[in-house]
Symmetry: C2
Subunit: 302 residues, 2 copies
């Protein structure tokens, strides 16, 4: 089977079931392991498939095809017997996670790569005292995991780049968009932005500037829509004629080191985009506007 | 003409032309005033109409219809002769803006409401020494103004609520989503969140955690998509079983005052949503997932 992996999900809450459905939708034979009643596990996976059909993400036919590739077990050894890749989605308890990794690595040696869905525990902590520490990474999804493509991969300070590349490719083959977080840092990458924005939002409401409803509406119809299309730094760059490096000149200043690093970064980012999303500023703007129009139609605004 | 206003745009850069096109698309007779060559002004408006057609936001027929409602002048007195509403989009110079307001109010008395597109000058500053200060407000759009619906309205400490309501309704009749900013505060509402997120993004890049490209991708496919659909505070609430008020309980704590204010705010927000966007949590999630699926198809991810 070309580019198909044997994938095992350990834990079948909405996050685990969501990622299982991503694997199944993309044709990977997938085993879902949990300690609870398997009928319950099957129901959660089927619920996610139903959500995907209802959302218009997949057809009913495709959902049935995906379901046929799933198997279920309460036996961890059996669950990982042929696994290339294990995604662990159990509660945030280090001992629980490590006991699972220990059992998997005792059974399968270094033949399987394990990623944890943890949003808070650093890979070096998970790797400590394990048999094959470099085969344990963090692969942090975003809620709702069945639809949002983002996975933050973090391998810790001793990461093996070959293992990282393999994990990134496995996620891509599951339809995800993996991002590599080079350093261990609280919240990995994007929670830092979400937390900072949330603190600012809290302050606005508590200061009586506007209601929760108004701030959410304001975000949805303004910066949120922009961030969904051009991210954070590119958005800010597109807001200034000539990009981030030109912003300083507007105030008669030379760009500082940060302006140059960020400005060059955006230039590189735009040049590296797939042509159909625009790889020069003018075409990025055309792509952005097209996506805005599509979203606004869904909101009944056009 | 029912719900149609005579609208005048003062200034015809991309922001002014964009808002002019919003007025025209919604059937308002609209005059665009500038001091430059009128052929140039017409071209900018036509460029925005062409962008809207290319983005799939409006049909060519609709664009032609909109264009037919536009008129152009270099004479400010003539531009505002019948105006109900003036949107001022000139450079950020207080004297320039005030000299325009003075001329308009000398000509038309208090019969016209003026909103400034300023992103930085507070309404009380714009109102100072004006003939009819309460008829001057801030109506701050978001780039690209022709597509993003957000307008932040701020009337300052002496705002007349009837004037505020009128302005909000005029914006709604232009297809915009106006938000009322109750207090004068730097950046009004949403720039505070954008600036906080941008600072966090800068730090991540400068600390070598990931590249500009990776952080933008991470935002697009994760929190950005969420913010485009459920805003900032509702997104955070949907991420916790039971909502924001339940989050404290997870750690064995009582919710504090902020948890209660924000939690109650989200509850009120959800209950007030139009039924088709979901007005209970389960239906908000269904609506959210449907929009995610639509966006992901545009990205070639489904």
């Amino acid at each position: 089977m070309e580019n198909k992996y044997h994938i095992t999900l350990v834990g079948s809450g909405m996050i685990g079931a969501g990622l299982a459905v991503n694997a199944l939708m993309n044709g990977h034979p997938t085993i879902i392991y949990d300690v609870i009643d398997l009928e319950k596990v099957k129901k959660t996976v089927q619920d996610v498939l139903d959500i995907m059909v209802e959302a218009g993400a997949i057809t009913g036919e495709k959902a049935a095809e995906a379901a046929s590739l799933a198997s279920y077990t309460n036996d961890l050894d059996a669950a990982v017997e042929k696994a290339d890749f294990v995604q662990e989605c159990v509660p945030e308890r280090i001992e629980l996670k490590q006991s699972i990794y220990r059992q998997i690595q005792e059974k399968r040696g270094d033949k399987v790569v394990i990623c944890s869905s943890t949003s808070a525990i650093m890979p070096s902590v998970l790797q400590k005292d394990m048999l094959y520490p470099k085969k344990i990474l963090v692969g942090h999804p975003y809620n709702p995991s069945y639809l949002l493509p983002l996975i933050e991969v973090c391998g810790g300070p001793d990461a093996d780049q070959e293992v990282v590349e393999l994990v990134m490719n496995i996620y891509r083959s599951m339809g995800k968009e993996p991002i590599y977080c080079k350093k261990e840092t609280e919240g990995f990458i994007v929670n830092k932005l979400s937390w900072a924005a949330m603190d600012a939002a809290k302050k606005v409401v508590l200061d009586g500037v506007c209601s929760v409803e108004d701030i959410d509406k304001a975000i949805i119809y303004g910066p949120g829509m922009r961030m969904a299309v051009t991210g954070q730094i590119m958005t800010m760059s597109l807001g200034v004629q000539g990009g981030l490096k030109a912003a300083a000149a507007k105030y008669g200043k030379e760009p500082n080191e940060a302006d140059i690093i960020l400005g060059d970064g955006v230039d590189a980012e735009i040049a590296a985009r797939p042509k159909e999303f625009g790889n020069i500023v003018e075409d990025v703007i055309k792509f952005r506007d097209k996506i805005f129009a599509v979203i606004l139609k869904e909101y009944g605004k056009l």
